[in-house]
Each structure stands twice: as structure tokens, then as C-alpha cells.
Amino acid sequence: MNRLSWFNTVSLTLGFAFLYIPMVILIIFSFNESKLVTVWAGFSTKWYGELMQNQAFLDAAWVTVRVAVFSSTLATILGTMAAYVMVRGGRFFGRTLFSGMIYAPLVMPEVITGLSLLLLFIGIGLDRGILTIVLAHTTFSMCYVSVVVSSRLVTFDRSLEEAALDLGCSPAQAFRLVTLPIIAPAVISGWLLAFTLSLDDLVIASFTSGPSATTLPIKIFSAVRLGVSPEINALSTIMIAVVTVGVITASLVSKRAMVRQRQEEQAAARTE
């Protein structure tokens, strides 16, 4: 490929500066000594210390993590099933409705999803708490999982599955021994996506949570409404750090898995 023209260099530089400068500023000022967030008064980690003392934030963080683990796991199972049905299921009654219900939540405004789920939970008399947040998060994130997984299912060579069936596998065995290992990277990234979506969600959690279960975004939102605070900067920095490490690790792992898979496929092709 030819070298970048000056136009492309400028647009990439400005674009990435725009994406990253706000977060860099946030991180720098989380180490600010002063309570006034816009005036630099020397390096300090005291806001991190105060954060660790704040029981309300710690409780909310624990609720958030539990909700995210349960809902992303459920969403991955349901979303993978949905993807498999969409790509391999052939024709069945109500397929259009089904695919509509998969794609619509991706663009549905969160206020509508939140309100409608809340009214459902009240309608069936379910007490609002961790369970209702898990159900709500599972519903919208399973759609993201199914989009990620189905894009992998579409591109992989179907004859591998057929070969397994010809060699005497039951459909379930073929899925477990052939399909699942091949789509595993997509399933894992689907899980990660569902996990972060759940960690991140404010609107739907606000509608579906009760007084007994406050998630971290709800806590942050009510604090942030009063203005910028150094404690929130520290909390944001921790969350950014966790996500950065997670995303980089995940991409390295999936890259290695892809390289290995390609080598195995090539090796298999040679032995044929």
C-alpha cells in the first residue's frame, strides 16, 4: 500500500486527537491535588483513597459487576442460539418477526426499552432489584451477541459441519465439536460486548432497578449532575484503565487464536 497522503495523515491525527484528548485530560486531572477540578495544584492520589472509603460506590460497583456477569452470560447463550437459528435455521414461521426483534433493540432508544420493561415487571408483579436489571440487560445485549456471532457463522465453511454429520456426528455433537470451536472467538467477543454494555448502562438500569439495587452508572449520574468532581475523575480513570487492559488483552488473544486457526486450516489443506 502507498504511503499516506497529507490529507489522510491530517484527518487521522485530528480524528484520534478528538477521540482521545478528553479522556487524557480526565485521567490527568484525577491525580490533581486540588478540589477545584480545573486548576492544577500538584500531583496526588488522595481522590483514589477517598474513593476506596466510599461505601456507597463500592456497594454499587459490586451490584454492577454481579448484574454484568449474570446478564452477559445469559445473553451469550441466548444470543448464540438466536444467531444459529437465524443463519442455519432455514425457514420457519415468523422468521421476519424474529429477525426484526433481533435488529430493533440495537437502535431502540433506551428510554423506550427501559419504560416498557418496567411496565412489564410491574404488570406481572416482579419486585424491582438485581433480577429485573439482569432480565432487562440480557434482553438488549443478546441482540448484540447474536449480530456478532451470526457474522462469524455466515463466513465459515459449512462443509466442515456437513463432513462431521457425514462421519456420524449427531447435530448436537457436530455443533459442540466443530461449530462451537470455530465460532468461539466471536462468542467470547460477544460475551465481552454484553458485559461492557451492562456495566455501562444507565437509562435501562434506572428504570428497572429498585431502591435495593443501585448500579454504578446510576450512582455516577446522580453525582455528576451536581458538576465535575475529582472523585468521579478517579473512578472514571479506574474504569478506563480496566477497559483498556481488557480490550487489548482480548484482541491479542483473539489474534493469536486466529493465527493458530489459520495455521491449522492450512495444515489440514496440505494433508488432504
Binding site: 480524528g15 478528553p22 480526565l26 424474529f98 437502535v107 410491574i122 434482553t139 463466513t155 465535575v228
Partner: protein
């Protein structure tokens, strides 16, 4: 048999937790507010059998929708949401396209890294990314400090709590949704087509408008829908960056529900918002299905 179970589990889940709730919203939007738990009336009482159902339906009416048309707050909020969403989508496209284009033209070995740099902010909390701009845009914020220091301005600009701040916030947070589909389309684009256009006498600019743009159209369309549709119902950005002067329907719905506790009116607002969104959502879904079929 197994296949039926496999189809049924996700199907029933989505029916119960996605579709049915909409009908409940619709039903409550036709009810009246009441000082009770739940705070609306009538409630469906199946124990009375057919008479109960008839009684239930006779009490539903369009009062809340009439109310929405009479109070011009709602009209203004709908119109201003659509307007903000359209302008913000165009701005995001203007900012996002050159980035996607630059990524597609970058040396092959850089591209995975650039991809990750675009995706990384998307994984970071939405709330935090909006919050980051509060410190930048406020009157004593970093942007004003910088501009005062350079001498470009002599009095601080008021940006936070205006619509400008809302546009900045939307472009910033939704940028990855615009870049990724456009990049995917540009990445697939066969470079020899542009060379052919140039060989046949197109200038580079002409080749860009006549070949690159039309061939990246599916990506542009997908990106615009992915930005526009959720922005219409956006709540976090207007409430943190927009101040009281920015009217958006997502915020109105939130306040109607949490502050006024008027569930029937909140539901009616949601129903109309959904009606506004049905057309773009259906178009988006068609576009996605066409794409998926083209790939298969």
C-alpha cells in the same frame, strides 16, 4: 423437535421481554393517571371474565394523546429532537468519513491498531465520555482556559448547557458507530476501480465522488441510521450537556416518568416516539438484511 426448541427459546424470550412490553406501553398510554399503585387506571381484572375485559376496554381513551397535541411542549420536543438528530448525524458523517477513509488508506499493518483505537472509546463508559466534556466545555473549563491563554478570546465562551455542547457530545460519543461501517465498506473497495477511473480521465476528486462515495454508500447508510435513530431518543447527553434550554423527547419522557410520575403520559410520549422511529428502524433493518444476504 430439537430444532423447534432451539428456535423457541430465544423467540419466546424476545416476545416476552421485547414485544409484549410494547403492548403494555400502548395500553397504559390509553389509561388515566390515578393515585394508586400502580399509578394508572383501569387495570385489567380477568377474574370477572368477559365483563371485566369489556369494562377494561370501555375505559381506555385517547385523552393522553389529545393532551400531547394540545401542550406544545411535546411538539417542540419532538421537532427539536428530530432536528438535533439530523444535524448531529450530518456532523458525525463529516467528521467520521475522513477518519474512515484515512484508515482504509493506511498501510495494511497499521489497520488493526487503528481499528482498535476506534473501538476502544466505544467500550469505555458512555457516561464517562459525556462527563469528560463537562470539564472541558464549562466556563472555567479547559477549553476556555486554553483559548484565553492563547489570546484568541478575551472573555470565556458559554458552551456548556447550550445546543453546541449537545452536538459536540453526540459527535464524540457516536463517532465509532459512523466510522466502523464506513471503514468496512471502504476496506472492501477494490482499489483498481479507482485506478481505472483515473486512467479513464477522472481527476482524483472526480474519482472520489464518482467511485468511492457510491461504493461506500451501504456503509454511509448504516452509519447514519446507527447514529440518528438512538440520538432521537437520547437522554444522557442533553441532560448533562444541554442544560434547561435543550428540549429533547428522551429527556421529556424521563422527567414525565421520574419527576411528574405521570406514567400514562410518559407511555403516550413513548408510543409517539416509537411511531416516529418505525420508518427509519424498518429502513435500517432492510439495509442490514440486504447486506447480510449480499454477503452470504
Amino acid at each position: 423437535m430439537r430444532r423447534a426448541v432451539l428456535i423457541a427459546i430465544p423467540y419466546v424470550w424476545l416476545l416476552a421481554l421485547f414485544l409484549v412490553p410494547f403492548f403494555i406501553v400502548l395500553k397504559i398510554s390509553l389509561s388515566d393517571i390515578a393515585l394508586a399503585i400502580p399509578p394508572y387506571t383501569p387495570t385489567l381484572d380477568l377474574s370477572q371474565g368477559w365483563a371485566g375485559i369489556k369494562e377494561f376496554f370501555s375505559q381506555l381513551d385517547f385523552e393522553n394523546f389529545v393532551w400531547l397535541t394540545e401542550d406544545d411542549l411535546y411538539w417542540k420536543a419532538y421537532l427539536s429532537s428530530v432536528k438535533i438528530a439530523l444535524i448531529a448525524t450530518a456532523l458525525t458523517l463529516l467528521v467520521g468519513y475522513p477518519i474512515a477513509y484515512g484508515m482504509a488508506r493506511a498501510p495494511e499493518e497499521w489497520r488493526p491498531t487503528l481499528m482498535m483505537l476506534v473501538i476502544l472509546p466505544f467500550w469505555t463508559s458512555f457516561l464517562i465520555r459525556v462527563y469528560a466534556w463537562m470539564g472541558i466545555l464549562s466556563n472555567e473549563g479547559y477549553l476556555n482556559q486554553f483559548l484565553l491563554w492563547t489570546g484568541i478570546i478575551s472573555t470565556p465562551l458559554t458552551i456548556l448547557n447550550t445546543q453546541t455542547a449537545v452536538y459536540i457530545g453526540i459527535v464524540y460519543t457516536y463517532l465509532p458507530f459512523m466510522i466502523l461501517p464506513i471503514y468496512a465498506a471502504l476496506d472492501r473497495l477494490d482499489g483498481s476501480l479507482i485506478e481505472a477511473a483515473e486512467d479513464l480521465g477522472c481527476s482524483r476528486t472526480q474519482a472520489f465522488w464518482l467511485v468511492t462515495i457510491p461504493l461506500s454508500r451501504p456503509g454511509i447508510i448504516a452509519g447514519c441510521f446507527l447514529v440518528m435513530i438512538p440520538v432521537i431518543g437520547e437522554f444522557v447527553i442533553p441532560s448533562l450537556l444541554g442544560g434547561s434550554g435543550t428540549l429533547m423527547i428522551g429527556k421529556v419522557l424521563w422527567e414525565e416518568f421520574f419527576s411528574n410520575r405521570d406514567w400514562p403520559v410518559a407511555s403516550a410520549v413513548a408510543v409517539i416516539l416509537l411511531l416516529i422511529l418505525v420508518i427509519p428502524i424498518v429502513l435500517f433493518q432492510r439495509n442490514q438484511q440486504k447486506q447480510a444476504e449480499a454477503e452470504q
